[in-house]
């Protein structure tokens, strides 16, 4: 379904996600790719992202627990996660990732820990919102 063809509620929510800075242009790209051949493309991609990124989040967590001084590794994993989150247009998440990487560069472990909490928060928050959004879209079908 095109974004502008969604029923009221879903459309409203979609606009909110954009206006509030949760999603960026990339999400529009995904919507453009959705067609008859892949009618649920956007939802599939988002699901894929969340199932795959869980492992990356966990890896960062483990690294922060076990080898917190390994900033190179932390930066590495975060780089992957950031790249992945850019695929669905997760704007706020990306911003926190960048912040985390900056702390890694200056080897500020506290900064990393704090920012990582933000990353997880944004990650979960967007996930919830997108779930709700797709629920609305589904109901509208």
């Amino acid at each position: 379904m095109e974004g502008n063809q969604l029923p009221c509620q879903a459309s409203y929510m979609r606009n909110a996600l954009f206006n509030q800075g949760y999603l960026d242009d990339q999400f529009l790209q995904l919507e453009d790719l959705q067609d008859e051949a892949n009618p649920h493309f956007v939802e599939e991609v988002v699901k894929l992202f969340y199932s795959d990124s869980a492992r990356l989040i966990r890896n960062i967590e483990l690294t922060l627990e076990n080898t917190p001084s390994d900033f190179e590794k932390l930066d590495n994993i975060m780089h992957q996660y950031k790249g992945s989150s850019s695929s669905i247009g997760a704007k706020k998440v990306k911003k926190e990732c960048t912040q985390f990487q900056e702390y890694c560069e200056v080897e500020n472990i506290d900064g990393c820990l704090r920012t990582f909490q933000e990353v997880k928060q944004e990650h979960a928050s967007l996930k919830r919102k997108l779930e709700n959004y797709f629920q609305l879209v589904r109901e509208a079908r």
Partner: protein
């Protein structure tokens, strides 16, 4: 695949049907890119591991027009993949990354990337990738047909590529060109009659051997395209062909050198183990084994083994330019055009038979020193990083190689040694002798070095040999690509080797089995490892590989997963 000839549907509606191989370890991006490229009417194959991508490329020679790869991948650095593709298949490669730092982009360009895209990638950026394919073809045509008129050149290249009135179009290649094309196609595996394909110079084993020989004769420091070309004595080759190949070769050497230095720094002790043994010219198995097991444990993506081993060998042998030679070997493997992918099958030879480096050397002694290294490289390349045990395979090859070894420049043959073994076993399923022959094969020992990233080397070697596709065992191609490629290369190279291979390859059969049995064998042979997960030997078809990204080896967080999937 597109049909041969000018009237190929693919080329007629170019760029539609462009065959793209996408390599990215991120399943989300892989799915998105696949969809985007399909929307551009391109033929897409996806792959989430660099090694599998190389396997795929080697297996399907001329099966792709362009490769798009991410820079950061777990099993192999994207730049390395870039180099290999450039040297072996000479395909345009586009790099992708979320990191747009100038230094990274520059590195990409240096390694031969024809473009560098930043994630998130827009579809319009992908729409234009065909220009890289076109540009390369035009240049190739110009290179090869340098002496021909511009009209002729355009006719060959343009008719296939463009369907507009500017070019002549329609008329098939004149007889003269056809002859050139056929001549070149002799060296090619696929023998595609499309002039576009033929226009590209395929650096086969033979060709690369000549190249390396010429380089050695001239002296690496003083080398220049014109001199090389003169020495090579290949009439249809142009100075430009040689120049571009030389550039790649240099890049390859320099990278090897760096890795070599790194390697030496890491495992200097190994060298000492190896050198004395090598000098003994006897089965320095112990040292090699140690070396192999050490190196195989060290890192999956290390490609250093080769250079290191080369160094070790250098000590034993009077070759002045160890690195250059090693590079040559590596390069040779790279420049091969076959599609053998040794990554998986050879990485495990940590316990491989310890072949004394010396053996390789003496077998090569007849030839140029660099060749020696090459041999060594081959076995090493074979050892896949994953703790995989295909020891038997490598030894078999080497053994044959030694026997076959006539000229010093038969590096390619040696390399090829590794590959065919596996194939033979699969098809022939002959009980072979114990790996003792391997033990005597110096090359084999090298393989044992357990170079994790050798896949490239081995692959290239195998690739070098996959020249003639008229092997009676072409059905092998349906089997594991590694094996089939090995088989092809082998049969094409030397029939006499077959017998030996059969004898030696029994264990390979035991490991690999055939058909579906292979899968389970592989699982046992290739235990899931942290880097590569479970290696699926049959995942050589990118499409098969990525039918369901969720089935990839990523642990799925049940909580998150459930949460997201609201019924």
């Amino acid at each position: 695949m597109d049909s041969c000839g000018f009237s190929s549907p693919r080329t007629e509606c170019f760029p539609a049907g462009l065959r793209v191989l996408v390599v990215d370890d991120d399943p989300t991006w892989l799915k998105i890119l696949e969809k985007m490229l399909k929307k551009c009417n391109y033929e897409v194959t996806t792959c989430n591991l660099a090694r599998e991508a190389l396997d795929l490329l080697r297996e399907r020679k001329d099966g792709f027009d362009i490769v798009i790869s991410d820079v950061n991948m777990p099993d192999m650095d994207g730049f390395k993949l870039l180099e290999h593709v450039g040297l072996e298949m000479d395909l345009p490669v586009i790099m992708m990354s979320v990191d747009g730092e100038t230094s990274r982009v520059m590195k990409g360009v240096q390694h031969g990337a024809c473009d560098y895209l930043l994630k998130p990638i827009r579809m319009k950026e992908l729409r234009n990738i065909w220009q890289h394919v076109f540009r390369k073809r035009i240049h190739e045509v110009r290179d090869i047909e340098g002496h021909e008129s511009l009209d002729e050149m355009m006719l060959r290249g343009g008719a296939d590529l463009l369907d507009d009135g500017f070019f002549f179009g329609g008329d098939p290649v004149p007889g003269k060109k056809r002859k050139d094309v056929d001549h070149k196609s002799d060296d090619r595996v696929g023998g595609d009659s499309s002039s576009l394909k033929k226009a590209r110079v395929v650096w086969t084993v033979d060709l690369h051997q000549k190249f390396v020989k010429a380089v050695n004769l001239i002296g690496f420091e003083k080398v220049g395209p014109k001199k090389i070309l003169d020495l090579m004595g290949v009439p249809w080759l142009t100075r430009e062909n040689v120049a571009s190949h030389l550039q790649k070769y240099r890049l390859y050497l320099s990278r090897l050198q760096k890795e070599n230095e790194l390697r030496t720094a890491l495992g200097g002790s190994m060298h000492s183990d190896l050198s004395p043994k090598d000098a003994a010219a006897g089965p320095g198995n112990a040292s090699l084994q140690t070396l192999v097991s050490k190196s195989s444990k060290q890192s999956i993506s290390l490609q250093h083994d080769n250079p290191r081993i080369c160094e070790g060998l250098t000590k034993a042998s009077p070759t002045p330019m160890a690195e250059a030679k090693a590079a040559e070997i590596n390069d040779l493997s790279k420049s091969s055009t076959s599609s053998i992918s040794f990554d998986r099958s050879f990485g495990q030879s940590s316990d491989a038979k310890p072949e004394p480096a010396i053996q390789v050397q003496y077998s090569w002694s007849a030839g140029a020193p660099p060749l020696q290294f090459k041999h060594e490289q081959k076995p090493q390349a074979r050892a896949p990083p994953v703790g995989f045990k295909h020891e038997q395979k490598p030894p078999l090859r080497f053994k044959k190689e030694q026997q076959q070894q006539q000229a010093p420049l038969f590096v390619a043959e040696h390399r090829f040694d590794h590959a065919p073994v596996a194939v033979h076993h699969r098809t022939e399923n002959k009980a072979s002798d114990s790996p003792s022959p391997a033990a005597t094969d110096p090359r084999y020992s090298k393989a044992k070095r357990g170079q994790p990233s050798k896949a490239t080397k081995v692959e290239s070697t195998a690739a070098l040999f996959c020249i003639q596709p008229e092997s009676p065992f072409t059905d092998c191609l349906t089997m594991d690509p590694i094996l089939s490629s090995i088989w092809n290369s082998k049969t094409s190279h030397s029939q006499s080797l077959e017998q030996n291979l059969y004898d030696d390859s029994w264990h390979i059969n035991a490991f690999l089995g055939t058909g579906s049995a292979l899968a389970s064998d592989y699982t046992s042979q290739y235990p899931p490892n942290p880097y590569l997960g479970t290696i699926d030997p049959f995942c050589f078809n990118g499409q098969d590989l990525i039918t369901d990204v969720s089935s990839l080896k990523f642990p799925i967080d049940p909580v998150i997963d459930e949460g997201l999937y609201i019924a």
